[in-house]
């Protein structure tokens, strides 16, 4: 399945958002995720099914003004 992860096209065999994070080795309570412009809470990642061409944003804390 082709997914757009943080703006990059990836070919990943992940059926849920939680699987995707594990496959790409993302971990940490400080991560925030969105799929197709909608927030997906951390407790919902395991049941959030991914579809072909879904756009996934994975954000984390950074310095800011």
């Amino acid at each position: 399945m082709k997914l757009i992860v943080n703006g990059e096209e990836r070919d990943v065999a992940a059926s849920t958002l939680e699987e995707l994070l594990a496959l790409l080795d993302y971990q940490g309570e400080w991560l925030a995720t969105a799929v197709n412009g909608e927030l997906v809470h951390r407790q919902d990642r395991a049941r959030h099914a991914l579809g072909d061409r879904d756009r996934i944003e994975i954000l984390s804390p950074r310095q800011g003004g």
């Binding site: 940490g28 400080w30 925030a32 927030l39 984390s60 804390p61 950074r62 310095q63 003004g65």
Partner: protein, 257 residues
């Protein structure tokens, strides 16, 4: 004490966390300023969570209030989604709402700002809106549910200082009971003192401290200037005059010839 959305704060300096020469320089500046609120952002994670994790732990260890921003957002939907993601990460309803409307000046898109503020206030956020010094926009932000206003005094990162003191003075006069924070454009401690003398409640700055040769020393200098300006506002300052007024009494002056 400064009261922002029910939090009582003794420090009137809000500090950004970007552009410091090192994480320890940031930490030292926060401590030297006595700052109780720092601003942070969210960005794409590229290293599996490791690049954001270190910063997250450092900020948490500071033990201060965290004010996430929506920096770089250019639309209502971007800003609203970023705010929701920030609430998830930082476990706070506070959001510094930025909706940028112009690439060169980083001037807020005030129409989108008001709409985003309305949406976020409706979803329980406590919104700190980065806005211009326009009174009508400020009125709309209050109607949208904001309880704090953060007008710029000059473009972000410009270090130009208050370009329109009359507008800031009008803000204070028009909104006597709303916490007012100057956000953006401060370059020197004297700029911070100047806006505090106008009656502003606090100052938010970043580059002026982070870009100094000695950030911690500059952070302390800003804290002192902000306190000085605040005291001066309450002490009642003289209005400028065109002509001289002798400070030494004229009566009793000796006549030698």
């Amino acid at each position: 004490m400064l009261s922002l959305y029910g939090s009582e704060l003794s420090s009137r300096l809000l500090l950004g966390t970007a552009r410091y020469p090192s994480p320890s320089a940031l930490e030292e500046a926060v401590r030297a300023a006595g700052t109780q609120i720092v601003t942070v952002s969210l960005r794409r994670e590229t290293a599996g969570g490791r690049s954001g994790g270190g910063f997250f732990e450092m900020i948490r260890a500071l033990g201060v209030h965290v004010l996430p921003n929506t920096a770089g957002c250019h639309s209502v939907s971007e800003a609203v989604l970023t705010a929701k993601m920030a609430r998830e990460v930082f476990a706070t309803d506070w959001i510094k709402l930025e909706v940028i409307g112009h690439h060169d000046t980083l001037q807020p898109d005030v129409f989108a700002l008001v709409e985003a503020a309305r949406v976020l206030c409706g979803e329980g956020f406590r919104v700190f809106p980065y806005t211009t010094d326009d009174l009508v926009v400020a009125e709309r932000l209050l109607e949208a549910g904001c309880e704090v206003l953060m007008p710029w005094c000059a473009p972000i990162g410009s270090a130009a200082g208050p370009l329109n003191p009359a507008a800031l003075r009008a803000f204070r006069a028009h909104f006597p009971d709303v916490p007012l924070i100057v956000d953006a454009g401060i370059g020197r401690p004297s700029h911070a003192a100047a806006v505090m003398e106008l009656g502003f409640d606090a100052v938010l700055l970043n580059t002026a401290v982070a870009g100094a040769a000695e950030p911690a020393v500059m952070a302390h200098a800003f804290a002192l200037a902000i306190e000085a300006g605040r005291k001066a506002f309450h002490a009642g300052m003289l209005e400028p005059r065109d002509m001289a007024v002798p400070s030494t009494p004229v009566i009793g002056k000796a006549v030698f010839q």
